[in-house]
């Protein structure tokens, strides 16, 4: 049943991807400025310019350009970077692992610590323990990421010298970026977990579980947490895209390669194909995240499996 549901959801990605690709294509062509300006040598003739424009297919009608582009992408060809003069697919392949590494670790870190904190806040409700976690949640969801990153660098890299200031040489360079993203991520997950636990705790069936003679611990782990995880999983899945793309600022501050930095650089240089390619990858990540979230929901909740049969 899960399998059937998953395939259904997977097929729905196709039309959505097509719609997204149109949006991305249009956005990119709305970008002002001519990328050829960056390419052409000073003192070239107008003929050179026309030739160069034709070489990148920029002289054809938009619709033709779109279908050419989408056709190429189907074959795994993301085009040629105009400024960097390399295949976009290579650039993506080069940067994606860094994003996945950082995003994956930050994701795991935020979900595990966030759920634990949320449960602690719930279990210690109406005591100072709850206030402490609530304070952390407030801080984590308000402090700007780039500022936190700078403070981390000041404290742990410059003053204490525990971790490198920037770069991506080895695992030590990952610690501060993961902590920075995790700070906000933990706050988000802890908040959702806590609220969900409070909601579920009020339901009738929890009273009846107590009436059956189950212990508080058994009720927490067998019933409350599985319920509370439903919204947590939804939020987490939605945030897969956030974590990959939202790492932009953190990648920037720590000077790490990654999809975010690639996109920022390409936006600055008006490198159309690279912007298109990296946006498409991020959109794909968002969709895969949502898909995983939906499937996980269906796996956890029989009512959802039923509703979509």
């Amino acid at each position: 049943m899960i399998l059937k549901y998953s395939i259904q959801r997977l097929l729905m990605i196709i039309p959505v991807s097509l719609a997204i690709s149109v949006v991305i294509f249009l956005i990119v062509h709305l970008l002002p400025g001519d990328p050829i300006d960056n390419l052409i040598r000073v003192g070239s003739s107008p003929e050179d310019r026309i030739a160069l424009t034709a070489k990148y297919g920029l002289d054809r009608p938009l619709i033709t350009q779109y279908f050419l582009w989408i056709g190429q992408i189907m074959t795994g060809d993301f085009g040629q970077a105009i400024v960097l003069r390399r295949p976009v697919a290579d650039l993506i392949a080069q940067n994606l692992p860094y994003s996945l590494q950082l995003g994956g670790l930050a994701f795991l870190f935020s979900s595990i610590v966030g759920i634990i904190l949320g449960v602690i806040a719930w279990a210690s409700r109406n005591t100072w323990g709850e206030q402490l976690v609530k304070g952390f949640i407030l801080l984590g969801s308000t402090v700007p990421g780039f500022w936190l990153a700078l403070l981390m660098i000041l404290l742990f890299a410059v003053n204490l010298g525990w971790f490198p200031v920037s770069g991506a040489r080895d695992w030590t360079a990952l610690v501060l970026p993961v902590l920075t993203i995790g700070f906000g991520g933990i706050a988000l997950v802890a908040r959702v977990t806590r609220v969900a636990l409070l909601d579920v705790g009020k339901q009738d069936f929890i009273t009846l579980l107590h009436a059956k003679g189950l212990s508080r611990t058994a009720i927490l782990f067998k019933h409350l947490i599985p319920h509370a995880l439903l919204p947590v999983v939804t939020i987490l899945a939605l945030r897969i895209g956030w974590i990959l793309g939202g790492a932009v600022t953190v990648e920037f501050v720590f000077g790490r390669p990654g999809l975010g930095s690639l996109l920022i650089r390409a936006l600055g240089q008006r490198d159309y194909p690279v912007v298109q390619g990296s946006l498409l990858m991020l959109a794909l990540a968002v969709m895969i995240g949502t898909l995983i979230g939906d499937i996980a929901q269906a796996a956890m909740d029989p009512r959802i499996r039923e509703a979509t049969k």
Binding site: I206, L208, H210, K212, L214, E306
Partner: protein, 319 residues
């Protein structure tokens, strides 16, 4: 020895006292009905006996609750947990929300016998299926594997009853077990509960706002109003000659057949909230017989034989 004896029960939640002065007694094999409008304290009484007040931040601050010789207000949480589900079963108001929607219904019933009868997985399953059959649920072996959302309300309420019965309890507390169900199903469930009490020699506390249900099924009745008990006694006595004006009015609310000549009587006004309990007799603002004394002095329970009423002008006494 009584199965359940409650004396002078009072409950506090934070700084308020939503329940006070509740006393009743129940023998093995008997059914007592606790009636009253919403907000009269019926469910709080049930929660007190189950020891579940901490869930809503409350506690018993007056009186005693004695179950089969055990004083419930002074036992530890661990001991209480053994009684809950083991010797005292609870049936809740809304079957729609009383089962964990993420788990199959069979294992939810299994929990009880595994917890209290030390059954292993297969013993518990066999017992559950047998029990579902006893409760007239068709094809219990396949029902076992369904999720709550795949069943009707009446079916779900039978599952909740099965859960309450799974460890062979001595006492059942049913908190408005039919309120959320269709009228036709209501009758079935009430009949089922009555039969179970006879077959298994159980005691049942039946909480309801429906006087006609009390008349059909109960041996005793306690009437509650605004967080306190106002009259109790055997069902025949109460129905034949109610002594508290409120009880009388409640009985007046029961429809009788298709008579066109008798207009149904309602009771003017509503039950006051905890914060606005009136002084003196809490019923006096709605009472047709109220006089000055009712506004000033809280009436005490006046016991005559098997019955008691808390009213300054208890009907059918001295005058």
């Amino acid at each position: 020895m009584s199965m359940l004896r409650v004396q002078g029960l009072g409950v506090s939640i934070a700084t308020i006292s939503p329940l006070s002065g509740v006393s009743f007694e129940l023998e093995r094999g008997e059914i007592i009905g606790i009636v009253g409008e919403s907000g009269s304290g019926k469910s709080l009484t049930a929660m007190s006996v189950m020891g579940l007040l901490p869930l809503i931040g409350g506690q018993v601050d007056h009186g005693t609750i004695e179950f089969d010789g055990i004083e419930l207000t002074s036992i530890s949480e661990t001991e209480y947990r053994r009684l809950r589900g083991g010797r005292i079963g609870l049936i809740t108001q809304n079957p729609m929300t009383s089962l964990d929607p993420l788990k199959k219904i069979g294992p939810q019933v299994d929990d009880v016998s595994r917890l209290h009868l030390d059954h292993d997985k297969s013993q518990a399953k066999a017992r559950t299926i047998e029990l579902l059959g006893d409760l007239r649920i068709p094809e219990p072996a396949s029902i076992y594997h369904l999720y709550p959302h795949q069943m009707s309300g009446g079916m779900k309420q039978r599952i909740v009853i099965a859960m309450a019965l799974a460890a062979d309890p001595d006492l059942l507390i049913a908190d408005e077990p039919t309120t959320a169900l269709d009228v036709t199903v209501q009758a079935q469930i009430i009949r089922l509960l009555g039969d179970l009490v006879k077959q298994r020699n159980l005691s049942l506390v039946l909480i309801t706002h429906d006087m006609s249900v009390v008349a059909q099924t109960c041996d005793k009745v306690m009437v509650m109003y605004a967080g306190t008990a106002i009259e109790r006694g055997r069902v025949q006595d109460i129905f034949n000659s109610p002594r508290h004006p409120y009880t009388k009015a409640l009985i007046g609310c029961i429809p009788h057949g298709l008579s066109k000549t008798v207009r149904l009587k309602g009771i003017e006004g509503t039950v006051p909230g905890v914060a606005q309990y009136p002084s003196g007799c809490r019923f006096h603002p709605r009472c047709g017989l109220a006089e000055d004394i009712c506004k000033q002095t809280v009436p005490v329970f006046e016991t005559t034989g098997n019955r008691a009423a808390a009213c300054h002008f208890a009907l059918g006494t001295a005058q």
